[in-house]
């Protein structure tokens, strides 16, 4: 996996943030195009390519969610298109309340604020679950990697994406009507 290679790391889901930053700075000092400004065209091009990958790698790996997404992508585990079934009812109700607010019915606001707060809490729980699964998976890397854990993580990431989209939608609507 080239993002891990770019930072000289073994693939895994748990990374130490400080170590990552240190590796990033170290390699930047070595490969940044500013360091090769007077080299030949070929070496300049190489420095540009290497640094672009290094930057892309650091940006992806320093964020646990983006990191897990990249890891799964590299394992060809694609996301399912289905929304999480256990949230359907709540989402249905929230959409009704959103419609009411859009029509100018302010009485829907407290319900929406409640819903948003619940989703924000849920997001924190999801992140907690993600890191628990990540630790578990990395342990399994010492022996035979447990692929079933990756499928579980896929589910968590999909749920996360869905919930953060919900939060974004509610906030957008809440803000629009505050400013009016």
């Amino acid at each position: 996996m080239r993002f891990y290679e770019a930072l000289g790391l073994e693939p895994g889901l748990m990374l130490d943030a400080q170590d990552l930053q240190r590796r990033f700075y170290e390699r930047s000092r070595q490969w940044h195009p500013d360091r090769r400004a007077r080299a030949g065209a070929a070496e300049q091009q190489k420095a540009l390519e290497m640094t672009a990958v290094l930057n892309d790698a650091f940006r992806t790996l320093r964020d646990p969610v983006a990191r897990a997404g990249y890891f799964l992508e590299e394992h060809k585990i694609v996301s399912s298109k289905h929304p999480p079934a256990e949230l359907l009812e709540e989402v249905f109700e929230m959409n009704m309340a959103l419609d009411e607010l859009r029509r100018g019915d302010e009485s829907a606001r407290p319900q929406l604020i409640d819903a948003r707060d619940r989703f924000v809490k849920l997001l924190a729980e999801i992140d907690h679950g993600l890191s628990a699964l990540s630790i578990q998976y990395d342990k399994s890397l010492r022996g035979t990697p447990d692929e079933s854990l990756l499928l579980a993580i896929r589910g968590v990431l999909d749920r996360r994406q869905y919930v953060s989209n919900l939060i974004r939608d509610v906030e957008k609507e809440l803000n629009v009507h505050v400013s009016n």
């Binding site: 700075y25 400004a37 540009l48």
Partner: protein, 610 residues
Amino acid sequence: MSTFQIDFGNAQSTIVGIDLGTTNSLVAVMEPTGPRILSGIVPSVVSVTSDGQVIAGGDARAMLITHPERSVYSVKRLMGRGADDIQDELKLFPFHLADSSESVLRLQLGEKVMTPPEVSAHILRKLKNDAEAELGTPITQAVITVPAYFNDAQRQATKDAGRIAGLEVLRLVNEPTAAALAYGLDKRKEGIVAVYDFGGGTFDISILRLHDGIFEVLATNGDTHLGGDDIDNMLLRIAFEDIQSEWGQDISAKADAVQLLRRAVIEAKEKLSFVPSAVIHFEFGGKSYQREITVDVFNRLIEPIVERTLAPCRACIADAGVKVEDINEVVMVGGSTRIPLVRSAVEKLFRSRPHTELNPDEVVALGAAVQAGVLSGDVQDQLLLDVTPLSLGIETMGGLVSKLIHRNSTIPASASEQFTTAVDGQRNVLIHVIQGERELVKDCRSLARFDLKDLPLMPAGLARIEVRFLIDANGILSVTARDVRTGAEQSIDVKPSYGLSDEQVEAMILESFEKAGADFQERQVREARVEADSMLAAVEKARHDPTYRELTGAERNAIDASIQDLLTVYNGTDHLAIREKLDQLNGATLHLAENMMNTAVRGALKGTKI
């Protein structure tokens, strides 16, 4: 010559740092003691004299008042922009557009027509000539600063200006980042720093993390059309109205009157940073207008403009992922930060007293010189990691933007996307690349259209073309494509939405050389003499070197004879003759140079600094 120069430790020519500002421009150079501003401030004004000569700087600024229709200022506002998106500017600035303005603006200056990069090139050439005169060495490479919030087209236009002026632009550096570099020297080793850059025409805010010589930009934000110009224009409008009611005359259409009044307004504005009250004093056509403005009134007038800088600051803090209290220092850059209200607004927002030790007009150029030192290898311990200010995306179905590289990504940055065909036998795919943060294409800025052409004949959906978008360290995009199945490079046609094509830039470079024909001849001679001067000086210095005594008598005689030969042709007008004698002297001193070099290397190996 080159061999000898290597031995004196400056194998390659000097790289200068240039602040190409909206109002003023400056050139600086890195020296062992630190960055230094060369010559003086050059007003960013270009004029065409009645005999067709193009002049830039102070002389052009004088012509701005006598011949406003032959002059242009604040051209930076027009860089990389199209005729359709500068309508607002045209209301406030006396830019005279030529008829042929399409995706590139063309300005009418007297009988000449020039694009904004060509106008900027004249300013750059003036800086280049000033620097050459002061340093006594030819300048061919430069670092040029740009507002952090400049988009791809504006950056490309700046790079084009450099090329037209005969400068290889080794790096475009963001102005606030350059300022941080100038401040960062011998200062704080670790910490979070904010740079508030409020100049003549642009506003930038950047937040950086400093770590042991690394300047990592965490986030940047800004407004490329917000600056001291806006304050001037506001005061101008007020004066126009006053004069209209006092004189019963609208002078806003009289270009020379407007320029005079603009100068009066700017004088008053600048005074108000130091005294509690100032008078706008203006005389025209035998009539006179005076208006006193107190600081209180001034503050009330400019408050909305100052307020407009604060929203980008808050967004930048959020994007950087830091809290206000995490920010250790705030650095002020740009002439408009002299205004006390600006300082107090910044102090209030960041809850700390901003740094104003360095001259806010010079700090960007100084930083550019430091970056020039980084590129030349003279500055080893500092490194800038900058970001792209705007997200890069492509147009998808329904006029929506799909983001590929998010804003504030460290550059160089890249992203890949696979494309395929929608119908059987489709031979090309059009990709529309966009810069901006909004969800709809129409709310973002069109960068370019890429045409993937000559695709293999195939049923729909089978072709697999991988397109790679790469933003380089200058913040400029390049695109490559390859056929995933064959691995072959896929041909691609680029149509930039704004700006000059490569051919147009080449033509302008040629033209600028032809026009400068006689001028050029003279320059060649002057440059050859400059090289001869530094060579002669180097040899004189070398006579005191211990290795000089190790030369044989014949070798010393050859050197003296070569010097005599060089001096004979020195005052002639044939630059080739001077260069020939220079080469001869170079050959005669080869052995001396080698000996000195070896001694220097031995010294270096012992850990002595050369």
